[in-house]
């Protein structure tokens, strides 16, 4: 059923439709509305879940880990400082192989205090072993939550779903909510083989010497590899129910493009609009939206960009001392395989608005430029 809702509430309803059993969360702008809505949903009896009102985000993730270790489906949501405070426990969830799904509203890291959109918070978690999705619409947020439980519970890895502060979190738009009966058909109850079970007492996470630790990492990496296929497979299953397909990357008019933008989050949506306008001006451009960055969709990207002659990556983030993270990861993946020149752009850092005109400027600059540049800080005031 179509409804209007803000992006944050799409996350809440995604959790509700997934029948999460334990929720542990802590307020932080601009995420808070997700848990407020969930509090309401639980109070209204629309979801049978236990809500743990923890005293910090570190504890929120810990409580989810504990619950998930018993075989319950657990959910949390946070943003920026809260996600950073969870950092240790994100590694934990991943290494403990617990299929927790969580939402992060991308917000700039402090100091100075900022509550505005910026991907540095979640991208700083790229080495924790979590799967990581960037949603670009409220529909994407809701659907991704459901699909992620399905994938996570098969590969036994947690998933982090991120989306831009305000541009999505506080923006109301139209969302199609699948009936829960359909979702139930898609997403069976979670029932793991290894769990805290008094009838089969095991310890979890004991001292692991150099004799075994490496092999656990190996298994994790295998799980990530498996996830690439599973995301596609479950995406197709989901499409059967809802007509909506989600892949690791989505390409828009890339087939014949000379210049391909590589984008994520809300910038990806605005870029689609820009692509249309640029095409009208006769410029052959395309947009490759990276939806999933862990597992990294190397093959999908290679396929999508193979015919173009230039790539312009737009990063709403920076790994200071290197450069934009999407650009870095893309180049790392294309190396050995391709020699299409890649330009790296920064835009929208700290919540600065990225407009259609900004994207068009980037296109112009890239078309004109002869030599690729690692990082161009678009729109910075010097």
């Amino acid at each position: 059923m179509k409804k209007t809702m803000i992006g944050n509430h799409a996350a809440s309803w995604g959790a509700q439709l997934s029948r999460v059993q334990v929720i542990a969360a802590y307020p932080i702008t601009p995420q808070t509305l997700i848990v407020e809505k969930l509090s309401e949903i639980v109070a209204d009896g629309e979801l049978d879940a236990k809500f743990i009102k923890v005293e910090s985000e570190h504890s929120a993730m810990s409580a989810c880990i504990g619950a998930s270790a018993t075989g319950a489906r657990a959910y949390t949501a946070t943003s920026a400082q809260g996600l950073a405070l969870m950092h240790e426990m994100l590694h934990w969830a991943a290494l403990a192989r617990l299929p927790i799904v969580m939402t992060n509203v991308n917000r700039a890291m402090a100091p100075g205090w900022s509550i505005w959109a910026d991907q540095n918070d979640s991208l700083s978690q790229r080495d924790t072993g979590m799967m990581h999705i960037f949603a670009s619409s409220s529909q994407d947020i809701l659907d991704s939550t459901i699909i992620s439980y399905k994938v996570s519970e098969q590969v036994l890895l947690p998933t982090l779903i991120s989306f831009d502060a305000f541009f999505l979190s506080h923006t109301m738009e139209v969302v199609d909510m699948p009936p829960i009966t359909d979702v139930d058909k898609f997403l069976p109850p979670y029932n793991p083989e290894y769990k805290l079970d008094v009838n089969n007492p095991r310890s979890f996470g004991a001292l692991t010497s150099e004799e075994h630790y490496y092999e656990f990492r190996y298994k994790m990496q295998n799980a990530m590899d498996d996830a690439v296929g599973l995301i596609k497979k479950e995406g197709r299953e989901f499409e059967k129910l809802t007509g909506r397909y989600y892949d690791l990357v989505h390409s828009y008019k890339c087939e014949d493009a000379d210049l391909i933008f590589v984008t994520s989050g809300t910038i990806a949506e605005t870029t689609n609009v820009a692509v249309d306008e640029l095409r009208k001006d006769g410029k052959k451009v395309g947009n490759l939206k990276i939806r999933v960055i862990r597992p990294y969709p190397k093959q999908d990207i290679l396929k999508a960009v193979k015919n173009c002659s230039k790539i312009a990556v737009i990063d709403r983030n920076i790994s200071c001392g290197y450069h934009g993270i999407f650009a870095q990861e893309l180049k790392g993946a294309l190396y050995n395989e391709s020699d299409i020149p890649v330009w790296g752009y920064l835009a929208g850092i700290g919540g600065r608005d990225v407009k259609v005109d900004d994207i068009k400027e980037i296109a112009d600059e890239t078309f004109k430029s002869k030599k690729p540049v690692d990082m161009i800080m678009k729109g910075v005031k010097i």
Binding site: L95, R97, L156, F216
Partner: protein, 101 residues
């Protein structure tokens, strides 16, 4: 590790990732690990003196004292030789021997 991980004891045999669960979940108990090798001193119960008060049993941290036929019996496979039992025995019924001498 100082303590050898004898992954082939007690039926837990791991030759590689394929034998391992996805996460470090235990597959067996520690009691393959005969801690007798830690022992310098050896407690010896003098059953003549012993009044079966089970104070030694009560306090043994391993536990390495069992109750066999209603009497305290030290399991030397596990006794680490802390000598707590001897110290607490109200009847001084536990003697101390030096290992390997």
């Amino acid at each position: 590790m100082l303590i050898k991980f004898r992954t082939d004891k007690k039926g837990v045999k791991i030759s590689g990732a394929k034998d391992m669960p996805p996460m470090p979940a235990s597959l067996g108990l520690m009691n393959w690990n005969k801690t007798s090798s830690w022992r310098n001193l050896k407690p010896i119960i003098d059953y003549e003196k012993c009044i079966d008060c089970f104070i030694c049993w009560k306090f043994c941290p391993e536990p390495a004292i069992k109750i066999v036929d209603e009497r305290p019996v030290i399991d030397y496979d596990f006794c680490k030789g802390c000598m707590l039992c001897a110290e607490e025995c109200p009847k001084d019924a536990i003697a101390t021997e030096v290992e390997g001498k």
